[in-house]
């Protein structure tokens, strides 16, 4: 069996030479305590690694691009970390968005307003819906579908990642068929008259 220190030196040399820093191939050379030793060494080495120089082309091709986009929605929206969290939970649960919306509408007893539920969920994923208005019933149902909890979803949505201002998502708002766009553009805007709201509005905006 190979010496973990030697494997570690080879890993470092490959990284410093500009090679891939994927550690998994190197781990196959050792087992047991040696493997644990190698993992700890690589882990500590990576933790000390400086920030990589920016390469716009490589960025666009990398997994970093959608993460940066989601982080941007979080920082400039009103839904806390939902833009970063919800799509990942959905992907992890292997649920397509249309499937999720179908099930969410059914669980909320709003099967007849499936499109409206879909619009609201779209806003949640894009950081355009203040978490403070979303009811526990919605988060409970959503958590069940994506394998999370109401509490975890609430925490993520209420993290003040952004400055409390909705992003200027004109294209998104233009798609809305349900509640008025102007009511969502400012979270501080007064709610529409109660008689204009239906149960779905209350579930997503009335808490």
């Amino acid at each position: 069996m190979a010496d973990p220190q030697q494997i570690f030196e080879e890993y470092k040399a490959a990284v410093e030479a500009g090679g891939s820093a994927d550690p998994q191939p190197y781990l196959t050379f050792v087992s047991g305590r040696d493997r644990e030793q190698l993992i700890a060494l690589i882990d500590a080495y990576l933790e000390r690694a400086p920030r990589r120089e920016f390469d716009p082309l490589a960025f666009r091709r990398s997994g970093a691009a959608p993460v940066a986009e989601a982080a941007h929605r979080s920082l400039t929206g009103v839904g806390g970390l939902w833009p970063a969290l919800l799509p990942r939970l959905r992907n992890r649960a292997h649920v397509r968005r249309d499937q999720l919306v179908d099930e969410l509408a059914a669980r909320l007893g709003a099967g007849a307003q499936r499109d409206k539920v879909g619009d609201y969920y779209h806003r949640m994923e894009h950081g355009l819906l203040p978490a403070s208005g979303v009811s526990d019933a919605v988060l409970e149902a959503l958590g069940t579908i994506v394998g999370s909890t109401r509490e975890a979803l609430r925490r993520a949505g209420e993290l003040p990642a952004g400055g409390g201002r909705a992003a200027a998502g004109g294209g998104v708002f233009a798609r809305m068929a349900g509640p008025s766009a102007e009511a969502e553009e400012s979270p501080a805007a007064p709610p529409r008259l109660a008689e204009e709201w239906d149960e779905v509005d209350r579930l997503f905006r009335g808490r």
Partner: protein, 204 residues
Amino acid sequence: LSAFEELPEHSLSELGDDELIAYMQAARAAGADEAVKPALAILVYGYWDTLVHRALLKLPRSEAEDVAGETIASAIASAFDGRSVGEFRSWMHTIMSRRIADHYAARNRRPVTEPLASENDEGWGEEPAEPFSGDALHARDCLDRAYEELDETHRRVIDLYVLGPLPAAEAARRAGGTMSEANVHQIASRFQRRFRELLDEGDT
């Protein structure tokens, strides 16, 4: 209104992490949301591979990118809001270590027949509750203990040479004082021995 000045990408690339965060905060305060994007791209791209590869040490590939994405989004958000502790990179890696520990613990608790992901997989917004567990996590703890037993100069040698990119001669020069290349090799060797000793001792 804030006198925010948008910087070109090449100027942003020269900023440190915390300066990039400050730039994004200023852009946000000035309502220049689009100006946040290039700064975010630089920060996320700069650490993406490192985070994914750290996750790959302990998690399957299917989960590594999720954990990396959650980590960096959470780290940036908390730094943006002033809730982070210390420098950005260190804070981000602390979050990563805890996310992995929680993930690891949740996976170990989960019966293989259970169809759903653990409810404890998401620790957004709070310090993860699970302590480090598992052999690989214990090994990292041993390495940190061996490191902490060293004085400041010797730690610097470890940072530069054993866990850093420099050859021994350059590490000796950077460490300063009377440090020689031979000293660097000795310090490194003792550190590796002590680390392995702690690891072989088990949990004591």
